[in-house]
Every structure is written in structure tokens, then in C-alpha cells.
Symmetry: C2
Subunit: 122 residues, 2 copies
Amino acid sequence: MKSLVIVAHGSRRQASNDEVRELSSRIESLTGESFDQVKTAFLELAEPSIPGGIEQCIEKGAKEIIVLPYFLSAGRHVTEDIPGEVDTVRNKYPEVSIKITPYLGTIDKIADLMVEQANQAS
Amino acid sequence: MKSLVIVAHGSRRQASNDEVRELSSRIESLTGESFDQVKTAFLELAEPSIPGGIEQCIEKGAKEIIVLPYFLSAGRHVTEDIPGEVDTVRNKYPEVSIKITPYLGTIDKIADLMVEQANQAS
């Protein structure tokens, strides 16, 4: 069983956290058979935490987990904090495979979407 | 003459600001004839500022400017700060058309890119 966890920063503004949760739902509807479930987790200010979200997947039977950081740049959160949080779960469940993908901002095709967005506005 | 301004938050970490500048260069190479120039501007912590970046475009002859907020959620920066900064330039150059597009996080197709990213990692 395979899970995808979308990790966002988390905000005091609940609507921002809900935006990410809605995105995760849309992603879940798009993943087809490649992932059994898609969860949202937050680095801070919202629940579940990264270890909490990953453990929810493990409790549902996930043996393979992909963590995708919903971040635009490679600051400390991406380079240190998220891997650190993930490591705490890895140490607790060494039989589960947990991989972190490159963060959202590394996806080249975002540039194409931004060009479309700009063209639509003009 | 038409310009596109990619507006990012700005970071103390220069590499993050440079990431956005590189993205703007890639976008410029993709816009073809639809935009004469693509600039980067920052809300804080990096240069040029939003009014500064827009004015650079106007000085080069832009009569129409599209501002695209490189932000993932509709926090205060997107809903208040960016429009406020843009208004200062609108008031100064009423003959120039300046439009703000919906922010990056509103682009639905990002979900498809995230699915691809997750599938590649698994």
C-alpha cells in the first residue's frame, strides 16, 4: 500500500491550510491507482504534523510513502526541517520506505503554467 | 510594449531570490512575442521592490504590465500588500495599464504536475 503526503508550511490563517487540503483532495482524485491515499501534513501552525500525517498513513497500512514538499524555495524548511521530521518517523518504522521528492519549486513545467496564466490575463 | 513582472516574497537567503530570477529568465524565454520583457520583483528583503520593478518596465517603454504573484496561498501578502504596492505605481503612472493575475497557487494544473512528481519518485 502506497501513500502520498503533501507537506505545506502551515498558517495561522485556516483558509490557507484548507487550500492545501483541497489541493490534496484534487491530487488524490488524479493519482488513480498509483497511490492508495493522499494526505496533507504541516511543518507548523496546523495539524497534522509531518510525523503525525505519515503515521496516519502507516496505521492505514502504507508500506511506501512519498513526501512532496509544497514549497517554492529551498530554504531551511526544505533542506533541514522537513527531512528532520521525516527521519523521526523513519527511525520509528524502519520497515516503511519513506522518500522525499524535490520540492514544488523545482518542477520546470511551472514556468509553462505561469506563461499561460500571464497570457490569459493580458 | 508589454511586460510581465513575477512578484516573489523575497528572502534573506540570496539563493532563494536567485531561484526566482532564474525562473523569470526561463519564463522570458517561453513567452515568445506575448511579452517584451519579464522582470522579477520582491515584496521585501530583496531588490527590486514591486514599485521599483514595475517602474523599470515603464522606463523601458511598457504601456501594459501584468503582475503575477509567485505565492502559494492567499495570505495578507497576496490580498493586501501586493495590491497596495501596485497601487502606488498606478497612481504615479495612470496612463499605464497594470493588472495583477491570480497567484500561482490558484493554477489548477499544478495538481497534475505534483502527481507527475510523485509518480517519478515512487
